[in-house]
């Protein structure tokens, strides 16, 4: 309720109290035998009822606002926890990626070392046909 953002809650309690006091005073007016004062009885009653209705409506708004604020705080706390958890999980995932990538790189280097040590011996005796090279290179571009 935007009105609650501009006015403090106590204003509506004061409005409600003024309404109640006004209503009470308007009943007391009937005991005063002065006609010039008695003519204000109905307007005072009307204004008091309007004030009471408005204040009651705003009391409901205040209660509703408090309930929503509590809910907002609860969700904000959950969001903050989720953000912390997200960062934690990201770190764990990143560590796994780095570890696995390092392992793959190391294993690849080992295989290349093996190739440099053992396979090079067959370089001169094994001729690679151009068709094989073409087939391999075509296979590297399957996504194009």
């Amino acid at each position: 309720m935007w009105l609650l953002n501009f006015l403090p809650d106590w204003v509506f309690y004061v409005v409600g109290s003024v309404g109640l006091i006004g209503l009470f005073l308007s009943y007391l007016l009937q005991f005063i035998p002065i006609p010039s004062i008695n003519i204000y009885k109905i307007p005072i009653q009307l204004v008091s009822i309007v004030l009471i209705v408005f204040a009651t409506y705003m009391f409901g708004g205040i209660a509703n606002e408090e309930q929503w604020n509590a809910r907002v705080e609860e969700v904000e706390a959950k969001v903050a926890m989720a953000e912390v958890e997200s960062v934690k999980q990201n770190v764990q995932i990143l560590e796994k990626v780095v570890k696995k990538t390092e392992y793959i790189t190391r294993k690849g280097e080992e295989v290349i070392q093996y190739v440099d040590r053992e396979i090079v011996k067959y370089d001169s005796s094994c001729v690679i046909p151009k068709e094989f090279i073409k087939a391999h290179n075509d296979a590297t571009e399957l996504n194009k």
């Binding site: 309720m1 907002v72 959950k78 990626v97 696995k100 370089d123």
Partner: protein
């Protein structure tokens, strides 16, 4: 007219404000956000050892990329659970 304005003023006092809770889209690790490289090709005069090396490098590239894809799947599943926990 005055009464109508008063009644309208009372009625619009019930208008709600926007709930001030926003959930930021979670940031994924930057290492996962790099694209997979293209596979290496053989030179025209490639020897057997060159073929073996190129194939090894390409396998490494594939497995490194597979790690990224697996990590994205894990990232999605983990963050889906985290997001569902907010509700």
């Amino acid at each position: 007219m005055k009464y109508i304005i008063c009644v309208l003023f009372m009625l619009i006092s019930g208008c709600s404000t926007v709930v001030p809770v926003t959930v930021k889209f979670p940031e994924a690790p930057s290492k996962l956000q790099t694209i997979c490289p293209q596979l290496e090709k053989l030179k025209d005069e490639a020897k057997l050892s060159d073929v073996s090396k190129t194939i090894t490098i390409n396998y490494s590239t594939y497995y490194e990329c597979a790690v990224k894809v697996d990590s994205w799947i894990e990232w999605y599943q983990v963050h889906k659970l985290i997001f569902e926990g907010i509700k």
